[in-house]
C-alpha cells in the first residue's frame, strides 16, 4: 500500500466516521460531501475518470443538495438533531459494521479483477458502447428499479384526497378518522 493510498483510506474512514457521529445534521452532510470528493479523487487516480466526475456531479452535487434541502426545511431553526433513539447501541453498531466490512472483503477475496477490455482511462467514449452494448439489460433493469422506487416513494407520501374534493358523507368519515 503506497502512502497516498493509506492517506486516502484514512481520510475516507475519518470523514465517514464524522458523518455518523456529528450531532449537527448540516455538519454531517458536509462531512458526507468531503467523503464523496475524496472518493471521486480516488476514482480519478484509479483511471476511472468518468466515474469520478459523475461521483461529484450526482452524489456530492445533486444528492447531498437534496439532503440539505430536507434538513433545512425540517430542522432549520435548530441544527442539533442529536437525540439517540437506540440507547447504548454503539457496541452493537460497531460489531455489525465490522461484520459487514468482513463480508464485503471476503467477497473480494477470490475475485479476479483483471479486465480484458481497454477502457482508455475510463472515458465515456469507451464506457458508452460497453454500457449500452454488453450491459444494456443490466442498465435497463437498474433504471427500472430506480423508477419503481421513485413511484413508490411518491405514492407513499400522497396525501388522502384534499377535504374540499370530498363529498359531504366522505368528509364526515374523514373527520371521524381524524378524531
Amino acid at each position: 500500500m503506497s502512502p497516498w493510498e493509506a492517506l486516502a483510506l484514512l481520510l475516507l474512514l475519518f470523514s465517514g466516521v464524522l458523518v455518523v457521529t456529528l450531532k449537527n445534521a448540516i455538519h454531517a452532510a458536509l462531512a458526507l460531501i468531503g467523503n464523496f470528493l475524496i472518493l471521486a479523487g480516488l476514482y480519478v487516480a484509479l483511471e476511472a475518470r468518468f466515474l469520478g466526475f459523475i461521483q461529484i456531479i450526482v452524489y456530492a452535487g445533486a444528492i447531498v443538495v437534496l439532503f440539505l434541502f430536507v434538513i433545512m426545511l425540517l430542522y432549520a431553526a435548530q441544527g442539533e438533531v442529536g437525540f439517540d433513539p437506540l440507547v447504548r447501541s454503539r457496541p452493537l453498531a460497531l460489531l455489525l459494521s465490522v461484520g459487514v466490512a468482513l463480508v464485503l472483503l471476503s467477497g473480494l477475496w477470490g475475485l479476479n479483477l483483471a479486465f480484458t477490455k481497454d477502457l482508455q482511462g475510463g472515458l465515456p467514449q469507451a464506457l458508452g458502447p460497453l454500457l449500452y452494448g454488453d450491459w444494456l439489460l443490466v442498465l435497463l433493469a437498474v433504471g427500472f428499479l430506480l423508477m419503481a422506487a421513485t413511484v413508490v416513494a411518491v405514492a407513499l407520501v400522497q396525501p388522502p384526497r384534499p377535504l374540499d374534493a370530498l363529498s359531504p358523507e366522505e368528509r364526515k368519515e374523514e373527520k371521524e378518522v381524524v378524531r
Binding site: 455538519h27 458536509l30 475518470r49 456531479i57 456530492a60 452535487g61 440539505l68 432549520a76
Partner: protein
C-alpha cells in the same frame, strides 16, 4: 497520441496564478464598468469622482470593504459563516482555467489554457455544482430566517436551471463526440460554429447561464424588495465583497463559456489572431448581459421555476432528441442547420407576435 502538449508544472502554476489575478482585477473593474453602463442606460453619470473617469472607484471600494466593521451574528454557525464565502469564491475561480484562449503553443510557446481535461465539460459542471454550496451554507450559517429563505430559493433555482444547462449541452457534445473544450473549439473551426447547428441549445444555454450567474431576469438571490438581501443579508465588509466577487466571476466565466461552446471560441473565419477574438466575444457577452440587466424586469419566483422546468427543460430535451436522431441515423448534419434556422424563425415570430392584452372582468 495527445494533440495537446503538456506544460511543465511551474508553468501551469504560473498560469493558474495569472488567471486568478486576472479574474480578480476583471471583477474589480467590471463593477465599475457595470455601474457606468447602467448609468448611461438610465441617463445619469454614474461614479466618476474617484480618479480620471472614476477609474479608481474599485480601489476605493476595496479599501472601504476591507476596513468596514465585520459583523458576525450571535446565532450564526461561526465556522460555516466564514467558510461559505470562501467555498463560493474558490469554486467560482476553478472553472475558468479550462477555457482555451488560442491554438496550442500560443502563450509564449506554452499552452493558452491552464487545464486541458478529456472531460472538460463534466469538470465545469462538477465545479459549478459545488459552488452552489457557498450560497446554501451562507444562508443557513447566518442563523437568520431571511438568509435561509434567500439561500433556499436561490439554490433551488440554480439547481433547476442546471438541468436545462446540462441538457442543452448534450447536443453539441453529440455532434462533436468529445467533452474536451479544445476538441469542441477545433470542431467548430472545421465545420462552422455550433450555434448554427444547435440554435435552440445555444439560446437555452445562454438563458440558463444568465440564471446560473444570478443576473437580472433571474437575480432572485438578492431580490431586495422581497428578501432584504437574500442569502448574504447578514454578511458585511470583506465577506460580503467575497460574495460579490463570486457573482462577478460566475458572470465572466459564463460570458467566456458561451462563445467557447457555441461561437467558435478563439477562432474566427477570417483574421486568425489567438487572443483578440476571444476577448472581443467575452466583452460582447458581458455588455449584452449588462444591457439585459438595464432593460429587463425580474421574474417572480414561481414564474422563474415554471419557466425553467416547464419551458427550457422540455425544449432542451426535444432538441437533444432531434440531434440524437440525426447523429444515430447518420443523416447529413446540414439538416440541423435548416432546423436551427426554423427554430430561429419561430423565435423571431414569437418576439414579433404581440396580441392585444385581453381585458379580464368587466367595467371601464
Amino acid at each position: 497520441m495527445n494533440p495537446y502538449p503538456l506544460d511543465p508544472y511551474w508553468m501551469v502554476a504560473l498560469k493558474a496564478f495569472l488567471v486568478v489575478v486576472g479574474l480578480l482585477t476583471a471583477f474589480a473593474f467590471m463593477t465599475l464598468i457595470e455601474r457606468r453602463l447602467l448609468a448611461r442606460f438610465q441617463i445619469r453619470l454614474g461614479p466618476n469622482r474617484v480618479g480620471p473617469l472614476g477609474l479608481f472607484q474599485p480601489i476605493a471600494d476595496a479599501i472601504k470593504s476591507i476596513f468596514k466593521e465585520d459583523l458576525v451574528v450571535e446565532r450564526a454557525d461561526k465556522v460555516l459563516f466564514v467558510l461559505a464565502p470562501l467555498i463560493g469564491v474558490v469554486f467560482a475561480l476553478l472553472a475558468f482555467g479550462a477555457i482555451p484562449f488560442g491554438p496550442p503553443g500560443s502563450f509564449f510557446g506554452y499552452q493558452p489554457w491552464v487545464l486541458n481535461l478529456d472531460l472538460g465539460l463534466l469538470y465545469l459542471f462538477a465545479v459549478s455544482e459545488m459552488a452552489i454550496y457557498g450560497i446554501f451554507l451562507a444562508g443557513w450559517a447566518s442563523g437568520s430566517k431571511y438568509s435561509l429563505l434567500g439561500s433556499l430559493r436561490s439554490s433551488a433555482s440554480l439547481i433547476s436551471y442546471e438541468l436545462g444547462l446540462g441538457i442543452a449541452l448534450l447536443s453539441p457534445v453529440l455532434l462533436v463526440g468529445s467533452l474536451n473544450l479544445n476538441d469542441i473549439v477545433n470542431w467548430q473551426k472545421e465545420h462552422g460554429w455550433l450555434a448554427l447547428y444547435a440554435f435552440p441549445a445555444f439560446l437555452i444555454y445562454g438563458i440558463a447561464a444568465l440564471a446560473e450567474a444570478a443576473r437580472t431576469p433571474f437575480d432572485l438571490p438578492e431580490a431586495e424588495q422581497e428578501l432584504v438581501g437574500g442569502y448574504h443579508t447578514e454578511y458585511s465588509s470583506i465577506k460580503w465583497a467575497l460574495f460579490q466577487m463570486t457573482e462577478y466571476i460566475h458572470f465572466i466565466t459564463a460570458s467566456a463559456l458561451i462563445p467557447t461552446l457555441f461561437l467558435g471560441g478563439w477562432t474566427m473565419p477570417f483574421l486568425e489572431v489567438p487572443y483578440l477574438w476571444m476577448f472581443l466575444k467575452i466583452a460582447f457577452f458581458l455588455f449584452l448581459f449588462i444591457w439585459i440587466r438595464a432593460t429587463w424586469f425580474r421574474l417572480r419566483y414561481d414564474q422563474l421555476l415554471r419557466f425553467g422546468w416547464g419551458f427550457l427543460f422540455p425544449v432542451a430535451l426535444v432538441w437533444f432528441l432531434v440531434t440524437a436522431l440525426v447523429v444515430a441515423l447518420d443523416l447529413p448534419r446540414s439538416y440541423l442547420l435548416y432546423l436551427s434556422l426554423a427554430a430561429f424563425l419561430v423565435l423571431l415570430g414569437a418576439v414579433m407576435y404581440s396580441p392585444k392584452p385581453a381585458r379580464k372582468g368587466g367595467g371601464a
